[in-house]
Symmetry: C2
Subunit: 591 residues, 2 copies
């Protein structure tokens, strides 16, 4: 169950798909070239492989535990977190003025993949802290920023995001937690928040809770939500820790997966009120939260492909080791390792192709983010925003398939918890749920990203794909095979975009009955498109005599994706175009 | 988490798809008409709903435990098993001369669904006992039959199947357990068996282990395997229990799911040898085991749809209760129950359509079994044998999708173990593995069921589907929609069968790289075909004024299946026809 960081594939994507070289033209990223990326990734790989990965199975067997309001994390987590923050990894993407490294997201996200592959439960703590930092950077006052961000970057404190309440899961309009102004600029916060990841733990001295709550007289619904900082310990003027604030962890959940990461129920204000500090302006909390959430959604997409990579590596190792049955072609007289069996090969290739496709998609998305934020590139912004629901939705749904195949390749041994394959399968299930379910990603794709401009931007994605098809037409045999499948998938996608645009206003139920199939189709297409671009690069590199084995494998993987995964788009198209009626026809009482 | 047996749907299938009326023309089943079926199912439903289902979640929280060679099952299991056997349920399908009821499989399998929906872990004990009875009926001497079968039918004793060894999972050629003849007709058995379901427990006084082992001088490979009865306690001449036999449970596994069902490691012969009795002839064990395994494979397929049904019911209940977000069509000013949201509806319909499709397929398969065994119908035999890998492979793979959607519909609550949705997701994962993985079902479908006669029988299935298409052409609007999709799926299937037949001899690797996609395509088609037949019936019944709500729901479900599930066959076809090259091209060292 060891883990080897796929540094080479990540660097290939950065160099050839995300075009890191062109990113270094932006002054802020002048030093963030391929050499830097490689050095950073190799350093990160060491920490992940040697320190964080070995704690993954231990965290599952011996999860975080709660007693008297305190949460004790798995032995080893605290020390690993120390090494993580001391290495500067928490600040990778954050501004240098607060102690961060100011690296582009395209490099930071690659590191994020490694940490998540190594240990998803562990990685959630830095992920949530990133979100809290992001929220303060977006909307916090200078005082809040200087007081909290450096301590979160150096790992003295961590962050948490407090959105969900028992009656308000996906629907934040239902949030009831209230914040009462105290006249001195502070507020007192009262309410219950659930599903708070790392809402309580022992890995840092303080926890900076970012909390959605309503001020008195706030409008109903999502327009009446404000965002507050509620630290676990109050912070004195000199930055030292003061009194314990009135926020308490009353329990943690018993979960299907990511067991080492504590999921807290937090009670605010049971003993007089938790002191909170407003972030930005009153009633604009949802807006700030959304900025933070977009980063977190991208991050969860990366978790999906990270988990897929880990499951793939474990399945490969097992398939190369386990001896069972003779090869069907009679090439060996006795039993062979199961990687010789065609169906095991097909499963491994499915895992590999989905993982590499999602990784490639995440890489180009991150580069678009960087071009948006460091250079104000509007085109890149539209591209990034279109891709976020695909990175989140498609990569996490794919992780279900990949981790399930990982168990399947292990046969009966996969069902035994000691083997570790089942943990990935259990861990993966949260990824399509938190930070917005797949349906919520699909709503975003349909509503904000497609219908808002009548499908125009969505169609422009197809035009980009078509440009790649033209290049493929100049390529070799594999390129031609990929081109045909990519072209069919693009046409399926366009048919769905047209349908969405046509039905958008008149028939919202039909449109939203097809939203998830549309998302899966779009994600499938974009991932396959990026692998097609990879194939074009690999053919050129191969012709130039570069790294033949790697390039040949890239071509095979891209072709496998095109021949096995892209064809799924036809059924998704059919479901959208023809299936809304039957999806919605059954009367409620017939269920 | 209550459970309601879908008696009406089961009776609909029996009456209209499996044609129970025509089955009663066979003398052995003269009394097994629809009235009998209804009475039996309603009785079974009571036991399952009231006694067995309430133990399901308890079994997951408080699984079987091992201490000093003894296994203690979950509190309540022993008493429930008592009620089960006292009700005569263990003997449902077995011959009356041994105390069974002699009912047709089409009725017994329906009952089996209910027990498995109620509690998969519980149901495994009777399932394994059925297998052991089957093996003895097939190949046991009269003495073995009269000594063991009545006690297994009355539930005093249970059965177990001992195939797997650490080095021999799917590949029984590697079995090493040995049996030494003692000169008195008995043998002494030595070896280790793993993954033995209910190999040790406290629910009955004795356990009849059916064990694969090699006699001295037996040929290597699968042709040198013999089958033995090794009882936990020896049986005296008068049928009373004698000495403890030398078979001991040294541990049970810590598993992803079906936790209440003990999965034993059994050690045979560590203290001088376990006394065993040969079943049938030496070296013919695999042959006998295969007969038993075919029954068990069908049974596991039923487990798949049973689990799907349970997950569906739980998801429906949650979706009707959970309030979250406004309807997208603005039909309600405030938040609605989530069943109003189109994507939740789509997920529920997917769960429902897959479950009903697999149930319909299982029902016609069972009737074919009955026509084979009670009337020697050769055509029915071919049909049954073709369907077994589909019932097993497709229904269990479908259960992954259905149980995953079940968790998804619960959102964050689905990830919390207390909710119970996650248990179904965990339990389902074993179903594609035990009694032969999906790949092994696919090998059976390709090898024995397709290539052996050059694809002739497989093509005849398509002809049957085509006949249904002709009938659909006479039907209403829904029938026409279903016909178009069914026709495409049939053509995809035929293209794959032709490919298999053509490549079978020359290119076994390519054929077996496509075996699972072929199985999934065939299973999808046959389930969709049976729902299409259901639709034809429902249209007629509706026209006749029968049970409008039920019939209308059947039509909607069949149409949903045709519009959302059948189109998946195109991608499966493409993967088979074009995808073998890329599936197999990557050199081993590139993984």
């Amino acid at each position: 169950m060891s883990y080897t960081a796929p540094v080479k594939d990540l660097l290939f994507n950065m160099a050839h798909l995300a075009e890191l070289d062109s990113l270094t033209q932006i002054p802020a990223f002048a030093d963030a070239g391929l050499d830097t990326a490689q050095a950073v990734l190799e350093e990160c790989a060491k920490l992940c492989q040697d320190v964080i990965a070995p704690l993954n199975h231990a965290g599952d067997k011996n999860p975080s535990s709660w007693a008297d309001g305190q949460v004790t994390t798995t032995p080893g987590f605290k020390e690993a977190f120390r090494q993580y923050v001391e290495g500067g990894w928490q600040g990778l993407v954050h501004p240098t003025e607060f102690g961060g490294q100011g690296l582009p997201k395209v490099i930071a996200a690659a590191c994020q993949e490694l940490v998540n592959s190594a240990n998803l439960s562990f990685a959630l703590c830095p992920l949530l802290t990133d979100g809290a930092i992001e929220a303060l950077l977006t909307a916090g006052s200078d005082e809040l920023k200087t007081r909290y961000i450096p301590k979160m970057i150096d790992g003295s404190w961590t962050g948490s995001m407090n959105l969900t309440e028992p009656q308000a899961g996906s629907d934040l309009a239902l949030v009831r937690t209230r914040a009462e102004p105290q006249g001195d600029g502070t507020y007192k916060v009262f309410g219950t928040k659930i599903f708070i990841t790392y809402g309580e733990h022992d890995m840092a001295e303080n926890i900076v809770h970012l909390v959605l709550a309503r001020v008195p007289g706030a409008p109903a619904g999502v327009k009446g939500i404000s965002l507050f900082v509620v630290p676990k310990f109050l912070v004195n003027g000199d930055g030292s820790l003061g009194a314990r604030n009135d926020v308490h962890c009353v329990s943690i959940e018993h979960k299907l997966g990511i067991k080492a990461s504590p999921t807290a129920v937090l009670q605010f204000g049971d003993h007089g009120g938790a002191v909170g500090y407003l972030v930005g302006e009153e009633n604009r909390g949802l807006e700030y939260m959304f900025i933070m959430m977009n980063a977190a959604r991208y991050g969860v997409g990366v978790q999906g492909l990270a988990l897929s990579e880990r499951a793939y590596q474990q399945a490969v190792a097992y398939a190369k080791d386990r001896v069972q049955s003779r090869p069907v072609d009679g090439s060996q007289p006795g039993a062979a390792t199961i990687i010789h069996h065609p169906d095991v090969r097909r499963m491994l290739m499915t895992m590999r192709a989905l993982t590499e496709g999602c990784r490639a998609m995440a890489s180009v998305a991150a580069a678009a983010y960087d071009r948006t934020h460091a250079a104000g590139d509007k085109q890149a912004q539209a591209f990034y925003e279109f891709l976020v629901p695909l990175v989140k939705g498609y990569s996490t749904e794919a992780s279900h398939e990949v981790t399930s195949l990982g168990v399947q390749i292990h046969g009966g041994m996969g069902f035994i918890e000691e083997t570790g394959a089942a943990q990935h399968y259990r861990d993966a299930k949260i990824l399509t749920i938190y930070e917005g379910t797949t349906a919520i990603q699909a709503n975003d794709l349909v509503g904000r990203k497609t219908l808002r401009d009548g499908g125009q931007y969505a169609r422009s994605i197809a035009a980009l794909v078509e440009a790649t098809e033209l290049e493929l037409a100049q390529g070799g045999e594999a390129a031609h095979a990929v081109r045909a499948n990519l072209s069919h998938a693009r046409q399926a996608y366009l048919a769905v975009v047209d349908y969405m645009a046509e039905q958008g206003k008149s028939n919202p139920n039909a449109v939203f009955a097809g939203s998830v199939p549309y998302l899966m189709l779009a994600g499938n297409l974009v991932a396959g498109w990026q692998l097609a671009r990879s194939l074009l690069v690999a053919e050129k590199e191969l012709a130039a005599g570069q790294d033949a084995a790697f390039m040949q494998a890239k071509i095979t993987t891209a072709r496998f994706y095109a021949e096995h995964i892209l064809p799924r788009t036809a059924a998704l198209r059919d479901a959208v175009l023809n299936g809304a009626g039957s999806a919605l026809a059954l009367p409620l009482e017939a269920f």
